[in-house]
Amino acid sequence: MTKYKVNINRPKVSADEIGQNMDFNIVLKKYKREKHSALKINWLIIYIIILVVLLAAFFAVRVINDEENKGKEKKTEAGKVEMLDFE
């Protein structure tokens, strides 16, 4: 028993038979389909990146606003204490 299947002097495939199977248009169609789906995937990736960037920007603005508001509250509280001391 050998590792591989062995064929000795197998009949050759004729040039005519090869010619019948070599239609470039089939491969060209497959290529265009593949390119088209690759392009779709690329656009999907771009959309996702844009979405992530927008979300990150939105949350960043929210965090900055929250921080600013907290700062203002603290200032107001500090002002009240000073006024009490003055009285």
């Binding site: 590792k3 062995v6 002097n9 040039a15 470039f24």
Partner: protein, 194 residues
């Protein structure tokens, strides 16, 4: 003595081919020239390694599709465009064998065994004497070694082309072939398959 490869390509032909490749990078329909030129060669390369025609035809289309998709990455290195196609075919078929989608087949023409026996045995009656054991020894070689025997002795490829397909140096390809012949010589003369 190994004859000149029937697939030998001259420098002018390679330059012409390079122009077509550059055109095909821009306009994929131009690839049809290369497709028509190399379809039969790539088919025969794959058919040598599989059992049936249909599988070989399927893989041939797959190889050309991959070539078209990856054409922008192709760089001319002074070897025929076919070497690049063979490399894709070689990688594709090995992947299929590794995944066990298709079984590896060895297709031997007895006339091709002559060239191996001529290299390893000076006896004129070598073919009659060793044919049987040589077939068994070849069919038991590791896949990488079998590939070298097929390319050099069954397909009569020059060392440069073998090196390009296997992504090794030409000297390395020569060393591998001579080591393999030595291994075959030892095995057939001792009558051991392994």
């Amino acid at each position: 003595m190994i004859q000149q490869s029937k697939y030998h390509v001259t420098k002018e032909e390679m330059d012409k081919e390079h122009d077509i490749v550059e055109q095909a990078k821009i306009d994929p329909s131009k690839f049809s020239i290369l497709y028509n030129k190399y379809y039969a060669q790539i088919f025969r390369f794959l058919y040598q390694r599989v059992n049936d025609k249909e599988t070989a035809f399927d893989f041939t289309s797959q190889v050309f599709l991959k070539a078209m998709v990856n054409l922008p990455k192709y760089k001319y290195r002074g070897v025929p465009f076919s070497s690049w196609l063979y490399r894709i075919a070689h990688n594709e078929i090995n992947l299929v064998f590794r995944k066990k989608i298709v079984a590896r087949t060895v297709n031997i023409e007895t006339e091709h065994l002559n060239s191996i026996i001529e290299e390893i045995e000076e006896d004129e009656n070598g073919l009659e004497k060793y044919q049987g054991i040589l077939i068994e020894v070849i069919a038991d070689l590791p896949a990488a070694e079998l590939e070298i025997i097929e390319m050099r002795f069954f397909e009569k490829r020059p060392f440069k082309e073998i090196a390009e397909i296997l992504e090794i140096t030409e000297n390395n390809a020569k060393v591998k072939v001579y080591r393999l012949l030595d291994k075959l010589r030892k095995r057939i003369t001792t009558g051991k398959r392994k």
